[in-house]
Each structure stands twice: as structure tokens, then as C-alpha cells.
């Protein structure tokens, strides 16, 4: 690849790429979620078959398109025709139809409730209410093709920032945009940059935080996999604005593909000299290294992350001195989340004022959420701040699966909270979610139906946080352990009403006395479920009942004699031979033998196994 010495070189490369840009192409989502659904085999078959037929249709391997529950998803351009759940055996039908200008009906998206089918991506309700900004190029740009990224305006913000703007002007643009950190805390990015820029140290660092530890959140994975150039462009602009010459991308070890793609993308930028010395002739030098995380949730916290980049264990420290003053190796350091950095090129390109026109008063721009749990359309969605939770759950998410009733939406990861139906009218923004006892967090949004036990959910999160607590400060280490013991007692039917009150009290202490964000927010799942679902706690304690049928000690499996046909499927499937009964006669579960694994319920075709 040719070295880009100045803006002319960049623009020449862009023009060349544009002259070769195909009108018609097939975009296939190839992120981790798609690969788990067999996208690689579809990709190989598609490429081979296109070549064999001599068709002039490039196949682009892109990041996940968002509709992850329906992967592999492919979109045929320029029409924007969307096929989902494609298998290698579907490829020849897809290409036949393309050659004949027809459509393969069976692969079109159908609304799970109304069965209405949609031919074009833009008409599908899942996409209609979204506002795709940072994810906007996900489908058109092949993840590792810098030419593709250039075709869609890539690096124009970088050239503008470095050649036409002073660092201070960039920071002002980011301040006026109102951009807040997308990693969870929602701190204003512009202020952070300004503080670091004002430090006189000759050595400064910028770190891109891709240690996406919140279970249930995967927008950073998707951005790093699908649009690594966009994230890196934002990072280079940030480095220029604060005067850092060295940067680190910290990626979770659980994300091998993201690590790979970022590493490759950095390699390409080095070849083009968009990283290295004298970038685009601006006289500015900057280099980036990738650091793989060691798998510790607490490393998402800035001071713990910095410690682990330094090769030490990830224990946070008190933050009376900010990282922008003394961070990595004691130097001013800016830490920004992946999604935050991905917003930067748009702000530089179109201006802070434009960005600030999207969203609510205090929360600007868009936010990517990962929708998961008991809804029809699971996947990644990008929405303008201020959209209501109800719109996200029902209009975009398609509502609750299988006609079950909605129970709660959990936002903010393990340290977030669970909100009930009565709160669904709330607009999605940092401060509103905080006030409701939850938080924006990094953008995980898990929808739970009536079969979810809220006490068990609280226990699950506290167990997670107890394991992930680094153990440095007492309130977090010991407080969480006690909260977990109490929750274990309650879910085992051994809790008392005093336990429930004690949870409130312990939660208050842990939240107020812990050292870092992990401990400070750790009681949220308990406090929010106590606030909105207290009756479930009371039921567990007083009535020894788990209405969702989750807490094993409080339920038993029984076969409904009316519904059982004696088909013997459960008899054969039971791993402990607890089921007896003759063929075509009603079966019975021996409660003494039953281990409550629920397999009989899973395999029964007549819904005859009941949890009581």
C-alpha cells in the first residue's frame, strides 16, 4: 500500500476507491454472533458460487448487522434486500433469484406476530425506529477494507482535525457536542480531553477501553470487529487533541475476533502512515498498541485498567487524583470507551452543534444498546437518546416472545437495575435512568418475562460482583459476600423478613463506602428489585413460593394427568429415572429422585409438565 503523505494523497486514494466502488454487492454479517450461526460456511459458498457463475457481485464480510437473533443476515445492495438465517444450501437459490431479478420469499424477515413479510431492510420495524450513526457504516463497509471505509467518507474527519483545526478547537467542538462517555459513567468527554490537554507533561497517553465486561453488552465487540477504522480514527483525533503520542486499545480476552481485527486495522494504518510519524504531513506522531485484557470485570474501571496495562493486577485506587492528571505510568491519560471514540469522527465532520441537536437536554447523540433476553428481535440497536424504553422493547424489540407477560427490563449491566412495566415510559438518557434506580451503563438491555424470578436475578448479579470484586476494600469485599449469603438463604426458602430489611441496609453501606465504581454501584440490582419487586421477596420469605418457578428449593415438577398422553418422551429423557408410567398411560414423577433439572418440561410436546 502506498504511503499517504498529505491530504492530496488521501483524496487520491479515496477517488481511486470510489471509481472502483461497486453499485451491486452482497453484505454478509460476519461478527462473532454471525459466525456462531454458521456465517463462515455461507460466506465461502457464496464467494465460490459467485465466481463459478462469473457474476460481478462482490461479497463483503462486514460486522454483525444488528439483527443477531436472525443471523446470518445478508443484505443485497443497492436495493437493500434483506435475507436472514441463510444456510450454504440457500446460496444457489439466492443467486438464481438475483440473476432473474426475483426474491427468495422463504428467507425474508417476517414479523413474528403478524407474519407480515418485509423485502427491504429499511421497512423492517426493527430498523425503522433506529438512528444508526456509529453503526451506520456497519453493513456497507467490509470490516478490514480501508478502501471501503474511504468510499464512505472515512478519515475525512481526521484530515480536517489535523490539517484545519487547532487541538483546542477540536476540544471545543467535542464540548459543544455534549458527548458523554458511553462506557457507563457518562462523564463529559470534552472536559476530560480539555483537562488532559491543559497538562504540561511532554508525555501523555490515550487508552481506548474495550474491556466490555458487562455481561449482556456487546456493542464494543461489534464496533471493534466491524468498524475498527472508525474507532481508530476517533482515537487518533483524540490523541491529536490532547497531545498524546502513544495509545493503547485494551480488548477483552473473550473477544478474539475483535482483537484480531483491531490489530489488522492498526497494521493497515501503519502501512498508510495514518499511524506513525508525521501523519498526513501534520508533523504529529502517534502510535497504537493492542493490549489483551486478562479477564477481570473490575478492569473496566479506569484506574484498574491502567494498572493492568502497566502489567500489574487490576486493583483500583482512590480517584482524588484523576487519570487526566496522573494516569498510566504517572502521566496524564485519557481513557475513552470504544463507542465514545466512534462518535468523534462524526462530531468533527459535522460539528458539535449538529450532534447536540440529537437527544435530550443532558444526553446528546445516539446510544447503541444490545437487546437480549425474552424478546423477539434480539441484537444491537442504535437509538437517539430520549427514545422511551417502551419503544425500544416493543417497537424495535418486537415485544415479548411466546405471548408471555413482560416483567422487567434490566439496563446498565450487573451494577444496573431492573425496571418494571410502570417505568417503561421513561426516556432513555443518563440522568433519567439513574433517578429511576438503574443506569445507562455501557448499554446492555435485557428483557425479562414472567418466567424470570427477580430475587434470583438479584442473587445472580450479586454473585457475579462478589466473584469479580478485587478484594481491596472491605465494604465491597465483605458487604457483597453477606448480601449474597442472604440472597442465597432467601432463594432457598430460609430467609426471614429481617433479612430483607438487612439487604436494604447493607446495600446502602456498600454503595456509600466502597472505593471504586464497582462497589458503589454493586447494590443497584438488589436495591432496584427491592424497590419495584418487593412482593416477590416477601413471597419467597413468607409463603416459601417462587412464582416464576426458578428457585429450585421452592418448586417441584409435576405431570398434569389431563394433558399427559403417555408418549414416554420424558420417561426416556429423565437423567435420573425419576419418571414412571406405562406407554399411553399417565406418567408420574418420583419427587424423591427428581433433581429438578427441568429436562422433562423441555422435551414434553403437550405442555403436561408443570412447575408448582
Amino acid at each position: 500500500m502506498k504511503r499517504l503523505r498529505d491530504r492530496d494523497d488521501l483524496e487520491r486514494m479515496r477517488q481511486e476507491a470510489l471509481s472502483k466502488r461497486p453499485e451491486r454487492f452482497i453484505s454478509l454479517g460476519m461478527g462473532t454472533a454471525s459466525r456462531a450461526h454458521g456465517a463462515e460456511a455461507v460466506y465461502e459458498t457464496l464467494k465460490d458460487e459467485v465466481t463459478r457463475r462469473g457474476m460481478d457481485v462482490p461479497v463483503k464480510a462486514t460486522g454483525d448487522h444488528g439483527l443477531c437473533g436472525y443471523a446470518p443476515v445478508m443484505v443485497i445492495y443497492p436495493e437493500g434486500l434483506l435475507y436472514h438465517s441463510a444456510k450454504p444450501s440457500d446460496v444457489s437459490d439466492i443467486l438464481d433469484a438475483l440473476e432473474r431479478d426475483e426474491v427468495v420469499d422463504r428467507l425474508l424477515y417476517a414479523n413474528p406476530l403478524t407474519k407480515e413479510t418485509f423485502t427491504y431492510e429499511k421497512d423492517i420495524p426493527f430498523y425503522k425506529k433506529q438512528m444508526r450513526l456509529v453503526m451506520g457504516l456497519m453493513e456497507s463497509v467490509e470490516s478490514l477494507s480501508v478502501e471501503d471505509y474511504l468510499c464512505y467518507g472515512g478519515f475525512s474527519a481526521l484530515a480536517k482535525a489535523m490539517l484545519d483545526m487547532e487541538p483546542q478547537a477540536i476540544i471545543q467542538e467535542v464540548i459543544s457536542s455534549g458527548l458523554r462517555g458511553r462506557g457507563g459513567a457518562g462523564f463529559r468527554t470534552g472536559w476530560k480531553w480539555e483537562d488532559a490537554a491543559n497538562r504540561s507533561s511532554p508525555i501523555k497517553y490515550i487508552i481506548c477501553n474495550g474491556d466490555e465486561g458487562d455481561p449482556g453488552a456487546y456493542m464494543d465487540r461489534c464496533l471493534l470487529e466491524g468498524l475498527p477504522f472508525e474507532v481508530l480514527e476517533g482515537m487518533i483525533i483524540g490523541a491529536y487533541a490532547i497531545g498524546a503520542h502513544e495509545g493503547f486499545v485494551y480488548v477483552r480476552k473473550e473477544y478474539p475476533l475483535a482483537t484480531h481485527n483491531v490489530q489488522e486495522a492498526i497494521g493497515v494504518l501503519k502501512e498508510l502512515c495514518l499511524l506513525g510519524n508525521d501523519i498526513l504531513g501534520s508533523g504529529f506522531d502517534f502510535d497504537i498498541q493492542v493490549v489483551r485484557g486478562g479477564g477481570a470485570f473490575v478492569c473496566g474501571e479506569s484506574s484498574a485498567l491502567i494498572a493492568s496495562v502497566e502489567g500489574r493486577v487490576g486493583e483500583p485506587r482512590s480517584k482524588h487524583v484523576h487519570a487526566t492528571e496522573s494516569g498510566l505510568w504517572g502521566r496524564p491519560t485519557v481513557l475513552n470507551n470504544v463507542e465514545t471514540l466512534a462518535n468523534v469522527p462524526f462530531i468533527v465532520d459535522r460539528g458539535g452543534e449538529w450532534f447536540a441537536s440529537i437527544g435530550t437536554k443532558e444526553s446528546k447523540g445516539t446510544k447503541v444498546f444490545s437487546l437480549a433476553g425474552d424478546i423477539y428481535n434480539t441484537g444491537l440497536v442504535e437509538v437517539p437518546m430520549g427514545i422511551t424504553l417502551r419503544e425500544v422493547v416493543y417497537d424495535i424489540g418486537g415485544g415479548i416472545q411466546g405471548g408471555n407477560a413482560f416483567k422487567a427490563v434490566q439496563t446498565g449491566g450487573p451494577s444496573g437495575g431492573c425496571l418494571p412495566d410502570s417505568q417503561l415510559g421513561l426516556p432513555v438518557d443518563f440522568d433519567t435512568l439513574d433517578a429511576a434506580g438503574s443506569m445507562m451503563g455501557s448499554g446492555g438491555m435485557i428483557i425479562m418475562d414472567e418466567n424470570t424470578c427477580m430475587v434470583d436475578v438479584a442473587r445472580y448479579f450479586v454473585k457475579f460482583l462478589t466473584e469479580e470484586s478485587c478484594g481491596k476494600c472491605v465494604p465491597c469485599r465483605e458487604g457483597l459476600k453477606h448480601m449474597l449469603e442472604i440472597l442465597n438463604r432467601i432463594t432457598q426458602g430460609e430467609g426471614t423478613m429481617e433479612d430483607v430489611d438487612l439487604l436494604d441496609e447493607l446495600g446502602y453501606v456498600v454503595a456509600h463506602a466502597s472505593l471504586c465504581g464497582l462497589g458503589k454501584s454493586a447494590p443497584n440490582p438488589v436495591l432496584s428489585t427491592l424497590r419495584y419487586f418487593r412482593d416477590e421477596y416477601v413471597e419467597h420469605v413468607r409463603d416459601k413460593k417462587c412464582r416464576a418457578g426458578v428457585c429450585k428449593a421452592l418448586v417441584r415438577y409435576e405431570i398434569d394427568a389431563q394433558a399427559c398422553t403417555g408418549c414416554r418422551v420424558c420417561f426416556k429423557a429423565c437423567p435420573v429415572d425419576a419418571i414412571s408410567g406405562e406407554p399411553e398411560e399417565v406418567h408420574v414423577i418420583d419427587q424423591g429422585k427428581c433433581i429438578k433439572c427441568g429436562i422433562c418440561k423441555d422435551v414434553c410436546k403437550f405442555d403436561a409438565v408443570k412447575v408448582v
Partner: protein, 161 residues
């Protein structure tokens, strides 16, 4: 025993090579240990001692790092590593039931390896495929929407390979 001897013999060189890959920079400790674990499958005591010797970082600190992060294991692993995702979305979809089945069938708890060194059972907190929950990963291969019913046949499939 033969294996252990070979390992010790190459130990010095392996650690040297890995260190060089990371610019002989002790600050890259996590990366260094990750690469060494890729070579040995786990982090034996000898490796930690050699790393400490070459990096001049006290053994206690190397050990601290090796035991703090989930990425590292100080015990040998099985031929197949079964990771059950216990992230929130997978939990809500019943991954705890899948995990219990693996525990029952293999007779081990998460973090342990079967006596025949075939299977290591682990839990992982979210692999970012929440739409596919419950997710199980066996030696890097992803299985989506796993139900407890499938567990027996999955193990059988790998045991016969």
C-alpha cells in the same frame, strides 16, 4: 515425566522468545503470561519462576497477576475446554440449568478437569453473543440455544472424536 523434562529443557528459550515478542518489557506481563499459557496450555510453577527470573519481577508479583486474572490457570487442562456462558442474557435463558447438566454428566465443578484429562469445565461471563443464549463454547466452537437435553449428546460427540 518425559513431557515435563522436555518442557523444562525448552523453558528458558520459550520464555526468552515470548519476552522478545513483547520487547522484553515486564509491563507486558499479562500478554507474556497469555502467550506462555498458549504454549503450555496452563501456567506451571516452573514457567512462573522462569518468568520471574528473566523479567526480574518478584515471583510473588508474577503469582499475583497469574492468580488475579481469569485468563490464567495454574492447573493442566483437558483436551476439550467446555465454556458455559453465564452472562445475564444466557442466565435469563436458563444457562444455569445447562451448567448443572454438564456438572452432573462430567462429575466436575467449573474450573476442574475430568480425571481422564478429556474435559475442562469453565464458566464465562458473556461472550457477546447474547442473542444466541444459552451459549456453550467447546474449544472455540460456538453452540447457540443449547438446552440441557443436548448436553449428553454433545459430550458423547466429543468423547468419540
Amino acid at each position: 515425566m518425559a513431557m515435563a523434562e522436555v518442557m523444562v529443557e525448552n523453558l528458558e528459550k520459550s520464555v526468552e522468545e515470548v519476552m522478545a515478542r513483547h520487547g522484553n518489557n515486564p509491563a507486558r506481563m499479562i500478554e507474556i503470561l497469555q502467550d506462555l499459557q498458549d504454549i503450555y496450555g496452563y501456567l506451571p510453577e516452573e514457567v512462573l519462576k522462569e518468568v520471574s527470573r528473566q523479567t526480574e519481577v518478584p515471583l510473588a508479583r508474577v503469582y499475583h497477576v497469574a492468580t488475579f486474572f481469569k485468563a490464567f490457570t495454574l492447573k493442566p487442562r483437558g483436551k476439550y475446554t467446555i465454556q458455559v456462558c453465564t452472562g445475564t442474557a444466557c442466565h435469563v435463558k436458563g444457562s444455569y440449568r445447562v451448567l448443572e447438566r454438564f456438572e452432573d454428566v462430567l462429575g466436575i465443578k467449573p474450573g476442574d478437569t475430568t480425571n481422564d484429562l478429556y474435559f475442562t469445565l469453565e464458566t464465562v461471563n458473556c461472550v457477546g453473543c447474547c442473542a444466541l443464549g444459552p451459549v456453550v463454547i467447546i474449544n472455540g466452537r460456538y453452540y447457540g440455544h443449547v438446552s440441557p437435553v443436548q448436553v449428553g449428546s454433545l459430550i458423547k460427540e466429543y468423547r468419540e472424536q
